[in-house]
Amino acid sequence: MKLQHTLGGLEGLDDPIDFEKQVFVQEWEKRIFGIHTAMMGLSSSLRDSPGGYDIDGVPTTFDSRWTWGDLRAGAEAMNPFAYFQYRYYEKWLGGITAHLVASGYISQEELDDATARFREEPTAPLPDIENPAIDEQVIRYLRGGDSPRRGPATPRFAVGDTVTVRNPPAAEHTRLPGYLRGHDGVVERIFEGNYSYFFSTGADGLGEPVPVYLVRFDPATLWGAAAEAGSGPLYAELYESYLSPAATAPEGDSTS
């Protein structure tokens, strides 16, 4: 298991919640958010989007896939203690920088040089190279989105079925909250259509279009004696890859 995948329900956290209502707590955080979002809007994966984007016609030198999965994989692959050390957008900055260097878009040396220069002169101007066609594609993506829905739903389970959450090997990235592994829940709803995930999580099971379910869990089964008295149900939205029929050994169990 990986700690950052098993955050839900973690015990011993007596700290008060940081009820910070700001979206950004440092000005620089806005810039990395903007860079990430622009890369999403220029991602080569948009060629296959139902949004019908003419990605090949956009005059950007970016020619890589950049999706939420790519961003999340960077954060989730971190040393778990480091994951909790860094603030949200610090993880974005680290992951995006690492990706751009590893993909050869920028070299570590030029990045270090430029960073050193901005340390000396934080407000030194950025290059004044406008390119409206790039900006227009990014905004077009923001308005149009990129639905992962692909084809009609092909559900293996029915509403009311009891399902057992599988226990696939820990991957660098997952959409399975760790505390659900091995637990039984009841299918509350089947979403219309199948849904792909634009990033293969390998043995974890995501990538190809699959049905998605809303599954209802009883807190007493999830948390046992640590459940809050009288608490209501917990609902999770789970890809079919994470579910197996109940009353059998969970499929894909990595521990048994």
Partner: protein, 208 residues
Amino acid sequence: MTSHFEYPSDREAASAAQVRALEKLLIEKGIIAAGTVDKVLGYFESEMTPLNGKKIVARAWSDAEFAQRLVSDTPAAIAELDLPIGMAGAEGEHLAAVANEPGVHNVVICTLCSCFPWPVLGLPPYWYKDPVFRARAAREPRAVLTELGVDLADDTEIRVWDVSGHSRWFVVPQRPAGTDGMSEAELAELVTTESMMGVALVETPARS
């Protein structure tokens, strides 16, 4: 081990310089342009803001049939309203709503990351991403809500939605007492981002 928890004293200045270096290089290399980041930020400052969510909730409070449709087919209901283009855009491709009602209170969380309905509420505030919030809200939602100032009756059922699949969820809070006769615009002003994720109630407006 303790080294993991040491922060350099120039932490923010270092990040600020690094992100500016990154933006400079991306512009020079033709990946993005000089105005791209500002255009993205402008989109979220002017169009995709919590104002959209406030209007959606105010309509639901004013029109019971709309409120029904908002839960049963959220995208179609939202498309009825005069909101900015892009409500089904990035992080709004598959919107879903749950409604609070007498005896039922909903809280939406994401224990894996920060899944958030951008077109409805804009970008997620920091509390939503706080590891302590994400950890505790999954298992002890009532204690968390009490800590955040939401006092619910003991017999109110709290439903937790830890939703990180394809949908982006939000909560339709309950209309507060003392708001009879208020216009949708007046009602919209009462609604907060926090109430639309279930960590706040909408308060009865103070008499002026």
